[in-house]
Amino acid sequence: MNKKTEGINQEITTKSFLQEIIETNITRRLIPKSMSWFGCMGGLSLVAFMIQVITGVFLMFHYIPSAKDAVPSIQNISHNVPYGWFIQRIHAVGPHIMIGMVISHMLRILFKGIYRRPRELHWVSGSCLLILTLFMYYTGSLLSVSNSDGRSAIPISYLYAIHVAGIPMAMGLFMGLHFFMIRNTGISEPL
């Protein structure tokens, strides 16, 4: 009986804890009215990144990272895998939109002067994310061509490891830093 009561109490505590988190962060949270639609560019960059991650995970199941099989495996995805052409095209086109969003987000921050103290580290982490995104595109573009054409001296398996693990891990780290600082110092208002 005691164990049962303890279990119920714990469940209630967990529920109220979750409820508190949701209420504090979402339902009871108040923000300034001045937030504009253009302020969503950072969020859109994150959505674009998530689309790239989801489509990238799908492609990982079918892509073969070897100099000989890379191009045939992409052709296989495009022609034989159900909806493979669509996901592969989204993964190929997505970076153009993502980089466009990131650049417009950075230009807005730059011209509005929001990078100033105490938000210098927002800018630093954001610009590192832009550089990493460009690296991500570069390594990804080399994966879709065979190494025989001489565009890259690095073995395709190394490029693949950097593209699917190395850069995303670094990006995750910088994103965590970026969001943590945004939570602490807010978006644009003076402290």
Binding site: T24, N25, I26, T27, R28, R29, L30, I31, P32, K33, M35, W37, C40, G43, L44, V47, A48, I51, F86, R89, I90, V93, G94, P95, H96, I97, I99, M101, I103, L110, F111, K112, G113, I114, Y115, R116, R117, P118, R119, E120, W123, V124, S127, C128, L130, I131, L134, Y137, Y138, S141, V145, R151, R183, N184, T185, G186, S188, E189, P190, L191
Partner: protein, 148 residues
């Protein structure tokens, strides 16, 4: 977490849910539609600038710069310097002299650094950094358009 209610009347605030969330959902839907449309129409049948097909628009300045600078070490050094300049921008414009430009516009309370932390100035109100940014953007656009 940053508390936006401090120093603001209730009229100056709005609820995060549903207002801000609704805004984000709308723009996210717009993004997804944009990607679907891009899948259909990309690559475009025409080219705005004369460039190889495998070079995307955002690498065009680097591609032309690479053609201008033949020395690889110098090219990588220039890229590293540009990246360093971009990353350290907030620290480069945080010098005391810029503060003097706004003496007649704001009340300085304690120190010069205060005027930076308390007030957000748009870039166009700071002549030197604004000129640097405009020149940088102009150079990047020029690098995109030149035919080396």
């Amino acid at each position: 977490m940053k508390d936006y209610t401090k120093g603001r009347s209730p009229e100056m605030l709005e609820p995060f849910f549903p207002n801000e969330m609704f805004r984000h959902i709308i723009v996210s839907c717009f993004l997804v539609i944009l990607e679907f449309v891009a899948v259909i129409f990309f690559p475009l049948p025409f080219q705005f600038v004369d460039k190889p097909a495998h070079i995307p628009w955002f690498f065009l300045p680097l591609y032309n710069l690479k053609k201008l600078i033949h020395n690889e070490v110098l090219f990588i050094s220039v890229l590293a310097l540009c990246a360093l300049f971009l990353v350290s921008w907030p620290f480069l414009v945080r010098v005391r002299s810029y503060c003097l430009l706004f003496l007649n516009k704001i009340k300085i309370t304690n120190s010069c650094t205060d005027c930076y932390s308390k007030v957000n100035y748009p870039l166009w109100q700071k002549p030197v950094p604004f000129a640097v940014v405009i020149i940088a953007i102009f150079l990047v656009i020029n690098l995109c358009l030149i035919n080396v």
